[in-house]
């Protein structure tokens, strides 16, 4: 990944007219993105708060319903997202070192990881959908009972509920499950859009050690999306 032969980008890194120095511009952007991430945390904070309230009021619903989630798929997705964070961080380093090929490769890998994550999520959603495991207003007890009767014995990776009757309002868990993972998925899709935009610019050689602000900012956003999943996985899949 040598860079000495690469031509310098034609245009110098843009300095907006209202900044005195590129350093000031970089710091302003960085503070801006951090404050934006703070709003994102509070945005999800409302949902985490709803989770805490309902889990404390209806612990039995959470204990029962979480068993319908596939722990191994969730774990794989966690690993996939962690890997994407690694490649994203690597992409920032490549941009800082003006390594164009490395940057393109890392951004491509990040994008691929995000796609795998969403694919696995889609498989999980489809499974829930088929068996009537939907949010409170659409929760289909008949379909769920039929699925349980059909299975008889839990498949590997599952510990399906046994003889005691299911608690009331299991749909509440799925309301929260779909709200939290759905909002997270929307953020993953938005992140993919941003990374795709970075990739297109990286291919054209826009980024170098003089100008890598967008890569840095998007990476911060991507790490937050990853971090939120790190909390979602145990809270939803690993309840004891």
């Amino acid at each position: 990944m040598s860079t000495h032969a690469e031509p310098r980008p034609e245009h110098p890194p843009p300095l907006a007219h209202h900044f005195r120095t590129p350093g000031q511009q970089f710091e302003a952007g960085k503070l801006g993105i951090w404050v934006f991430l703070l709003t994102e945390i509070l945005f999800f904070g409302g949902l985490f708060c709803a989770y805490a309230v309902y889990r404390s009021i209806h612990p039995e619903v959470f204990l029962y319903a979480h068993q319908f989630l596939d722990k191994s798929l969730g774990a794989i997705n966690t690993v996939v997202l962690l890997a994407s964070s690694l490649t994203m961080a690597w992409a920032v380093r490549c941009a800082q070192l003006s390594q164009r090929r490395g940057l393109v490769l890392c951004l491509g890998l990040t994008l691929a990881c995000a796609a795998v994550f969403l694919g696995i999520k889609a498989v999980e959603y489809r499974h829930k959908w088929q068996h009537g495991l939907k949010w409170a207003g659409q929760y289909d007890e008949g379909k769920v009972a039929a699925m349980l009767a059909e299975l008889g014995e839990p498949p590997p990776g599952h510990t399906l509920p046994g003889s005691p009757p299911p608690p009331r309002d299991v749909g509440l868990f799925f309301s929260i499950y779909f709200a939290m993972t759905g909002l997270h998925a929307v953020h993953v899709i938005a992140g993919m859009g941003l990374i795709g935009w970075l990739l297109a610019r990286a291919v054209q050689g826009h980024f170098s050690s003089d100008y890598f602000r967008p890569v840095d900012y998007v990476a911060l956003y991507w790490h937050l999306v990853d971090l939120i999943w790190i909390y979602l996985f145990p809270l939803l899949y690993l309840i004891h």
């Binding site: 907006a16 007219h17 209202h18 900044f19 000031q24 710091e27 302003a28 503070l31 801006g32 404050v35 934006f36 703070l38 709003t39 994102e40 945390i41 509070l42 945005f43 999800f44 904070g45 409302g46 949902l47 708060c49 709803a50 309230v53 309902y54 009021i57 209806h58 619903v61 949010w135 409170a136 207003g137 659409q138 009331r168 309002d169 749909g171 509440l172 309301s175 929260i176 779909f178 709200a179 909002l183």
Partner: protein
């Protein structure tokens, strides 16, 4: 009164910029140069036009409500013409002075609910939340900091268009009709079954509109925070910032921390309506009170979004028009931040009767009392600034005095509501309506007018008729108190809010009729006051004399650039000094404004 700024048709001042000089208004021309502008000053002006239009809309709704309440029974809403057209017997009943048919009364009630919801929603979400930060903050903040623009000009423009989109959503509900939840969108009003299709559409539209406006507010907040942190010129330390900047900064912190919670709450509300996710529905194990907690976790800090920048404006004006250094600068600055943070801990006082443990209610009540302390600190510091000052009663100062008086009443009546034992009796009465309008109209809106009159010469480059401006302040003050003081009395005597027809209450409370009539008369006086404000400002654009750079003798940086400012604000970085040191400024009649003494002399 030692200093009365000159008014009237004086000739062109000697060293004001010539008529053709390049400024931000004339820098480029054409529709797109405004629609796609990244200049914070032009964005501020676009907000000014949009928000004043919304203010007129919300004000018309208010007049309709007060007209309806002028008589105890149906006044203008009981027998809508549409009903009379469809049902001939209804119009016959009208003509023959027979009792109004019940369908007509029901329709009148629904219309009343619709109008008071829209009055609240338009005034809160479109006018007073964005008002001061978006108009005056956008225009003045970078100038006060000696900066060329906001940190993120594109984000700034985006937040204007988000505001516009949100406003369009609200206007659409005017067309679809039936929005009757109150501006708070409380569940189960907003999620209940049995709504007509039109009402469902309206609720979803209005909630999405508020969601979009939330993003507008957050983006403005992010921009302000970064601008204050990163764009201050060398020499301007945190404690050399003008107090309006402190107020705007504290506001931005709340906008960033509180608004996302409203965003997610409104999204959940839409999901609840559209997909029945059950989070707020007790039939599906949800909890409608959770909505209130979420809502007030945002909306209580939001009242400080509304009032803090207003307090910043008053701090500027009181000091400038008393020709005296602001008293207790650090206390005022810190109290803004204290209000911003403390304000997050008191939301429960909106819910004392919603179902809350006595222990929680007691804690919220105690915290509510402590949050009054920083506001009182500000009021006492303003009074101490005026004490022995050379007070000039120009229009902005008149509005500032109106603010202090009305905010004082509003703030003190808030303590009644924070007291558990009293609150239980006056909840959902006109006492709450009066308190809220004293702080939000008497506070925020009056501060916005004060700021508008104060910076109008800077924004437009024109001086208005000061006598007319002072008259408008007096008419507004009288009209306002005539409207809302009777409502305190109504409330303490048990008149519930949101009543369309109070005929049945007159048996035990015959005085309600008189008090409501007084309030309605006051509302029309207030409307006359606003008409004077608009006339005064528009007249200045046509006939006003050219404004000097520093008409009031302010020491903050925005008065160092010409009026109106050039496109880039400051050709050279301005000289940063104490923002409240007026000793070097003296009035120059040939300019019609204040100039800095060229030879620094000893202190007088």
């Amino acid at each position: 009164m030692t200093m009365a700024p000159p008014t009237g048709p004086a000739g062109e001042p000697a060293n004001s910029p010539p008529a053709g000089a390049d400024n931000y208004l004339t820098h480029t021309r054409g529709f797109w140069s405004w629609a796609l502008t990244l200049d914070h000053k032009r964005i501020g002006v676009m907000y000014l036009v949009g928000i004043l239009a919304s203010l007129v809309l919300g004000g018309v709704f208010a007049l309709v409500l007060r007209t309806e309440l002028a008589t105890p029974g149906p006044t203008i809403m009981g027998f809508p013409p549409t009903l009379a057209d469809k049902q001939p017997e209804a119009s016959q009943a009208l003509a023959g002075k027979q009792p109004v048919p019940p369908e007509a009364t029901a329709q009148g009630k629904n219309l009343y609910n619709h109008i008071f919801t829209l009055h609240g929603a338009v005034m809160i979400f479109l006018v007073i939340i964005p008002g001061i930060p978006a108009i005056l903050g956008n225009f003045v903040l970078p100038l006060m900091l000696g900066a060329k623009d906001m940190a993120f000009p594109r984000l700034n423009l985006a937040s204007f268009y988000l505001w516009l989109t949100g406003a369009i959503f609200f206007v659409v509900t005017l067309h679809t009709g039936g929005l009757d939840t109150g501006w708070t969108f409380y569940t189960p009003y907003s999620t209940g079954a049995g709504h007509s299709a039109a009402t469902s559409t309206s609720i979803v539209m209005a909630v999405l509109g508020a969601f979009i406006l939330g993003f507008s507010s957050m983006f403005t907040g992010i921009n302000f925070i970064v601008t204050v942190h990163k764009l201050r010129p060398p020499g301007m330390t945190w404690f050399r910032m003008p107090l309006f900047v402190w107020g705007s900064y504290a506001t931005a912190v709340i906008q960033v921390l509180a608004t996302p919670v409203l965003g997610i709450t409104l999204l959940l509300l839409v999901a609840e309506r559209v997909w029945k996710i059950g989070i707020f529905d007790p039939k599906l194990s949800g909890d409608p009170v959770l909505f209130q907690h979420f809502f007030w976790f945002y909306s209580h800090p939001a009242v400080y979004i509304m009032i803090l920048p207003g307090m910043g404006i008053i701090s500027e004006i009181v000091s400038v028009f008393s020709r005296k250094h602001i008293f207790g600068y650090r206390f005022i600055a810190y109290s803004s931040v204290a209000i911003a943070l403390w304000g997050f801990l008191v939301w429960g006082h909106h819910m004392f009767v919603s179902g809350m443990s006595l222990r929680a209610a007691t804690i919220f009540s105690a915290l509510t009392f402590t949050v009054a302390i920083p506001s009182a600190i500000k009021v006492f510091n303003w009074l101490a600034t005026m004490y022995k000052g050379a007070i000039g009663l120009a229009t902005p100062m008149c509005y500032a005095l109106v603010f202090i008086f009305l905010f004082g009443i509003g703030g003190l009546s808030g303590l009644f509501l924070g007291t558990l034992a009293v609150d239980v009796h006056v909840t959902d009465t006109y006492f709450v309506v009066a308190h809220f309008h004293y702080v939000m109209f008497g506070g925020t809106l009056v501060a916005m007018l004060a700021g508008l009159y104060y910076w109008w010469p800077k924004i437009t480059g024109r001086m208005y008729n000061d006598r007319l401006g002072r008259l408008s302040a007096m008419v507004l003050f009288a009209g306002f108190n005539l409207t809302f003081f009777p409502q305190f009395i109504l409330g303490t005597r048990g008149m519930p809010r949101r009543y369309f027809d109070y005929t049945k209450l007159l048996g035990t409370h015959p005085e309600f009729s008189m008090l409501h009539l007084l309030s309605t008369i006051g509302a029309f006086c207030t409307a006359v006051g606003f008409a004077l404000v608009f006339y005064c400002l528009i007249e200045s654009l046509v006939r006003g004399r050219r404004a000097p750079a520093n008409p009031w003798g302010g020491a903050t940086l925005e008065w160092q650039c010409s009026s109106p400012p050039p496109h880039d604000n400051f050709p050279d970085p301005p000289e940063v000094g104490d923002p409240y040191d007026f000793s070097d400024l003296e009035y120059d009649p040939s300019v019609g404004g204040f100039v800095r003494r060229t030879v620094p002399s000893g202190r007088p």
